[in-house]
């Protein structure tokens, strides 16, 4: 199905927002304005964008340690995200979570997670909630090739399948688990093939093609909404930065490999398509870029100007009332 022009532009805008957000986070981190462990999503924008485009606000997602893109694609506010990354009181978690624990339950973003694979069992619960609510809702969980090696992948795929939960397992295979190559660590390179062992459909898509991800995700989400049970979607992609924003972190990836993936940039690919199909001119795209950069500036300003939490705020929120 050929998607409409405004939907194409929406996909582009979301991807570019993620890209510009992450570029800025990386820059501010390098300058010492952001502390801690920060994993940026640059290179993988098409996955979160294409999948979340098919989800409603009432649908729920669970994210990984590399979660900024998922939050943005699900509709989180970049000001409150940036404030959280800066450790400010106005952040989503009042500064208690930081980059690895951004969540926005109001838009169905049930949280990033610093433990590889640990989001999958939680997502099984989100899928169970959707099933019990009987409103045709669905859930999705994002994880990497590395997480597919965790026991929780097996347990969660199996449990979601026997309970026929409306849960999409979205594997972002970016070919490296931290610095360990998938070529070494995965006994079979196609993770989607594992779906067969769990009695669910396994589908693979070019994770750098947002239109392909969007259309594939649409079919799978529709299937889930009709009670078809869980699915595994593998998106082949690549992250441009090292595992996290620390220049001393080992990066064994060959330069030619990285360059070949940069040449397959999901955003450039979409720009070419928008121009070729007459949806947007170069000028239109420049205007989109300018407006996004302004919003990112506003988010950083908001984060910088927001107050830090008081030290004793550390004592709040250990328990819910």
């Amino acid at each position: 199905m050929q998607i409409k022009k405004d939907e194409m532009l929406k996909l582009y805008r979301t991807m570019l927002t993620i890209r510009r957000f992450e570029e800025r986070v990386s820059k501010e981190y390098a300058q010492g304005n952001i502390l801690g462990y920060v994993h940026v999503y640059i290179g993988q924008e098409a996955v979160a964008t294409g999948v979340c485009n098919n989800l409603k606000i009432s649908d729920r997602i669970v994210s990984s340690h590399r979660g900024h893109g998922h939050s943005i694609a699900k509709g989180a506010d970049i000001k409150r995200m940036m404030a959280e990354i800066y450790g400010k009181k106005t952040g989503y978690c009042k500064g208690k979570g930081g980059s690895m624990h951004i969540a926005d339950f109001k838009v169905g973003m049930l949280g990033a997670n610093g433990i590889v694979g640990a989001g999958m069992p939680i997502a099984v619960g989100a899928g169970l909630a959707a099933q019990l609510e009987k409103k045709g809702g669905v859930a999705a969980v994002f994880f990497g090739d590395g997480a597919s090696q965790e026991g929780e992948f097996h347990e969660s795929m199996s449990l979601a399948s026997i309970w026929k939960l409306p849960l999409m397992f979205v594997c972002e295979n970016n070919l490296y688990a931290s610095s360990t190559p998938a070529k070494y660590a995965l006994p079979i390179q196609d993770i989607y093939k594992k779906a067969e062992s769990y009695g669910m459909p396994g589908v693979v898509v070019d994770g750098n093609d947002v239109v392909a991800v969007n259309e594939t995700a649409r079919e799978l989400v529709e299937r889930m909404r009709k009670g078809g049970g869980p699915v595994l979607l593998e998106c082949k992609t690549y992250r441009w930065h090292t595992h996290f924003e620390m220049t001393t972190f080992p990066d064994p990836r060959p330069k030619e490999e990285l360059d070949s993936w940069i040449a397959r940039c999901p955003i450039v690919k979409m720009e070419k398509r928008l121009k070729a199909e007459g949806i947007a001119t170069k000028k239109d795209l420049n205007e989109i870029n300018t407006s996004i950069l302004e919003k990112i500036d506003e988010a950083v300003k908001y984060a910088e100007e927001s107050p830090f939490p008081a030290p004793e705020d550390a004592l709040e929120d250990v328990y819910s009332s």
Partner: protein, 320 residues
């Protein structure tokens, strides 16, 4: 008052709360048949032996507006899902800034003394006490089990209930009328004036037997069951020690970094309580060994009435 078993009391607590609250969902490898018959397969979920998956699923469903019970049966199996307990359930409320509630009851059977050997004989509650964000209840009587589980099923946080394996058939008075027991309220199981014995879980019964034994020697023992370890009723423990001036803590778990160690700290850190002490405090705990299988060795590794009696006599006879 009618008497029912500990197992009947816990079953009643769940049944009553499941009737009241349609949002309650139960997950376990062995399904509770009575609940299953009454509430059906949708709410009473049978799980595969996938502890991480269903311990974590409880978090996801609870964070999505439901309320979950996840019963891992034996406490030792919870180690398979340790990340979901300590990194997820315990921290998720806090690290997301309190934007969602996670009402979950996790049930675990703890305890030694059933010839189950090292892996199936565990009392890991102090490990969980050391993780901020969990509430921990450890009822010793049918009355407490029902009242505390009902409170847990209305709490908006992850609660772990440790239920000793030897308590299931123990009978006790439980009123027909509905009641709940608040967390953080210890029970004074026996009043006394010469020495305070704080005992946890099954050890409450051993402590009561020891108190009866030393009564023959003219020693009057106050026995306190904290009932919940997080939050802990420091006040009742301290008040008792101020009154008696002596303390023995009995905990079946290994001694090192035990709940007993925490209870001692509660006492000695408080100036008034510390000043009232007439003798060094004493712990009667499980030996720091993996629990052996063979009966004579196992018995040796676990605190019992005799060992508590000896400890009481030692503390009471202390001359400084």
């Amino acid at each position: 008052m009618r008497k029912i078993s500990y197992n009947q009391a816990t079953a009643e607590a769940l049944q009553e709360e499941f009737r009241k609250n349609e949002k309650l969902v139960h997950m376990a490898e062995d399904i509770p048949q009575d609940l299953y018959d009454e509430f059906g397969a949708e709410r009473i979920r049978m799980t595969p032996i996938s502890e991480s998956a269903f311990v974590g699923a409880a978090i996801g469903v609870a964070g999505s507006g439901f309320r979950a019970v996840a019963d891992v049966r034996m406490a030792t199996f919870a180690f398979c899902a340790f990340d979901q307990f300590v990194n997820q359930a315990a921290k998720i409320t806090y690290m997301f800034g309190g934007q969602a509630k996670f009402p979950i009851l996790y049930r675990q059977r703890n305890g030694l003394g059933v010839s189950a050997a090292a892996q199936h004989s565990v009392n890991p509650y102090s490990m969980y006490m050391n993780v901020a964000g969990l509430k921990i209840i450890i009822p010793a009587t049918p009355y407490d089990a029902k009242g505390l589980l009902k409170t847990a099923l209305r709490d908006n946080n992850p609660v772990i209930s440790f239920e000793h394996m030897k308590l299931g058939e123990v009978e006790g008075e439980v009123p027909e009328k509905e009641y709940t027991i608040p967390f953080g309220k210890a029970a004074v199981m026996r009043k006394g004036k010469d020495i305070t014995v704080v005992a946890i879980s099954y050890m409450v019964y051993e402590a009561l037997a020891a108190a009866e034994e030393v009564k023959k020697l003219g020693i009057s023992v106050e026995v306190i069951d904290p009932r919940t370890l997080v939050p802990m009723d420091k006040e009742t423990i301290r008040n008792s020690v101020v009154k008696t001036g002596r303390l023995v803590v009995v905990d079946e778990a290994c001694q090192t970094c035990s709940a007993a160690a925490e209870i001692l700290s509660v006492v000695v850190e408080d100036a008034d309580t510390f000043k009232s002490l007439k003798a060094p405090t004493k712990r009667v705990c499980g030996l720091d060994v993996p629990v052996p299988f063979s009966a004579p060795m196992e018995k040796y590794a676990i605190p019992d009435t005799d060992r508590i009696v000896e400890a009481i006599k030692e503390v009471v006879s202390y001359k400084g």
